[in-house]
Amino acid sequence: MSLVSTELTRSVDGVAHLDGISCVLERGRFYVIVGPTLSGKTSLLHAFAGLDAPDTGRITLDGADLAAVPVWSRSVSMVYQQFINYPHLSVYENIAFPLRRRRLAQAELDSRVRAIAETVGLTSLLARLPGALSGGQQQRVALARSLVKGSDLLLLDEPLVNLDYKLREQLREEFLNIFSAQNRSILVYTTADPNEALLFDAEVLVMHEGRLLQVGSAQSVYARPATTAVARIFSDPPMNLVPGSIDAAGLRLANDVLLPRPRHLDALPPGPYVFGIHPGDVALAASGIASEVELAEISGSETFLHVRHADMRLVAHLSGVYAYALGENVEIVLEGAKLFAFGIDGGLAAAPESGG
């Protein structure tokens, strides 16, 4: 079973929410759509669900065009980021709701509801109302309700974004267990956080401004981003991009800093390029590129150091706490082997060998 989308477009008030999306999603697989806010992730999910019809393009499920099928006849479930449950029904009734439309025998319905409740960890809460539950518990109810139908397509729109960090980690693990245990449905999960995609280690679709920029495994997208846009989206903090050139002497960054040409970039012809490096590969050293600190963001036990050398601005992701003051001088070293090179059109010219 596969969900095939062809050239989907949708504009609202002149703004393109979907701009020619084409992709194939296969049964039993787990997909993560990564993109910043307003990239069209939710619009795409809505199109899959049938909630918003695309202006042009087709969506077919196993060859059958879905355009004629109304929302309530489709085999789709959705979990929202806002903890959506039916407030007037108990947890049990919430989970049972989709099944009640199907007129199952009471015993069958009961066993299915309880089985799912067990899987999601809600057995002791079945009699409660959603209003009496915590955020995490409410999302479990929403998840249970979406699983109980056994629908062909299970959509999750940034479901963990409103939960605190610890809960997010915990639920992510539980999601992975539940998802890997089933192989009937197509699972689509959206997030604005590329690290989440990497943690899930799933098949990734990178979206930006309504367009699909790259499709591939999370690792491959991270190691070989197809364009500078993908490079910036699929990295948190975004990949450092510095315009420069390659000439006989080596690499020139921002027409200022000269670096020896690393081996993996040997094959590139001389000319202008945009070089990229992950913040994690920017290091402090005793001597290197003299730079000035613009901002030191301390986050937990890590530091994001924003530095500047002439026109070149970089962010270094350092583990440890470094409380540098504004304007302090530091020496920056860029590991040559970790450099990416993009053509001035944004396309990937060369990537580090061992997966960045």
Partner: protein, 292 residues
């Protein structure tokens, strides 16, 4: 998509009812205004704009707008001041006030006509408590209902009694929905109660103030029951508002064609005036906000 068919089902019944019951009278009124329908000659004939020419010279009609403006603006202004004042007094300690809040709500719920009937006995010059209270305070009795200015005042008093609760309710709800932070900031900055009110409270509640005032102006301009019972438009025509005059022409004299032209003119004037007032208020309150 089949959602489209569903959408119509929801709105259609309501829309049909309203179009049939409101649009029809409006179009009918316009058509009738171009006829000379009255008791002597019932029926739709065509006399063009004769009725409108007549009303252009009908000073009684134009004067009624002045009276209407005085009555509506006067009573709404008082309602706003009193309602706002009461809301300000009560909003900080809501727990204790349930009895008073219900009490303050009651006048708004009562049938205006029926309360007007009671107020008429109150304002009775010799047998009513209004003059009794004045005598107790050492003042002279006032001819509440038989002197032009006082008659207008009596009506305004009744209107204020009846509708101040509306302002109170709207402004109280508004005050309660305001965020606390600006007030805390003002307190930290050392602002006294008056300054806090002028610079923080009033500007923030401006949109609700405007909404409440507009709604009350719309309703006040329709005033009918109270005037009918208490003064019957009198003495003379002292309290005759536009809609009362239309009532006299249309449902007493049965000059239906002429009344229709009066109605249509009145609607156009009201729609324009209210829109202007709304815009002016909005600008006034927002300018005040920016200056603050």
């Amino acid at each position: 998509m089949s959602v489209d068919r569903g959408k119509l089902v929801f709105v259609l019944p309501g829309l049909i009812v309203l179009v049939a019951i409101i649009l029809f009278p409006l179009l009918f009124t316009i058509r009738v205004s171009l006829s000379s329908w009255d008791v002597a000659q019932p029926g739709l004939d065509w006399i063009g704009v004769t009725n409108y020419l007549r009303l252009a010279e009908d000073t009684r009609f134009w004067e009624s707008f002045g009276r209407l403006a005085l009555m509506a603006l006067g009573s709404v202004a008082l309602q706003y001041l009193l309602g706002f004042g009461l809301a300000l007094l009560v909003w900080r300690d809501m727990r204790a006030g349930r009895f008073f809040r219900v009490l303050f709500l009651i006048p708004m719920m009562t049938t205006p006509v029926i309360m007007a009937v009671i107020w008429r006995t109150v304002f009775h010059e010799s047998l009513g408590p209004a003059n009794d209270v004045l005598r107790l305070l050492g003042m002279a009795s006032l001819p509440w209902l038989s002197q032009a200015g006082l008659a207008m005042t009596s009506v305004i008093i009744v209107e204020v009694w009846q509708w101040t609760p509306f302002m109170f309710l709207m402004l109280l709800a508004g005050l309660l929905s305001l965020p606390r932070e600006p007030f805390l900031a003002a307190a930290i900055d050392g602002a006294g109660p008056i300054r806090t009110f002028l610079r923080v409270t009033f500007p923030m509640i401006a949109p609700i103030s405007i909404g409440a005032i507009i709604i009350r102006l719309i309703e006040a301009s329709k005033i009918m029951d109270t005037v009918y019972v208490i003064t019957s438009g009198g003495p003379g025509t002292a309290t005759e508002t536009s809609s009362y005059y239309i009532f006299i022409r249309g449902l007493r004299d049965f000059q239906i064609g002429y009344a229709a032209s009066l109605s249509f003119t009145y609607l156009v004037i009201m729609a324009i005036s209210l829109t202007i007032i709304a815009k002016v208020l909005a600008r006034a309150m927002i300018v005040k906000d920016r200056a603050a």
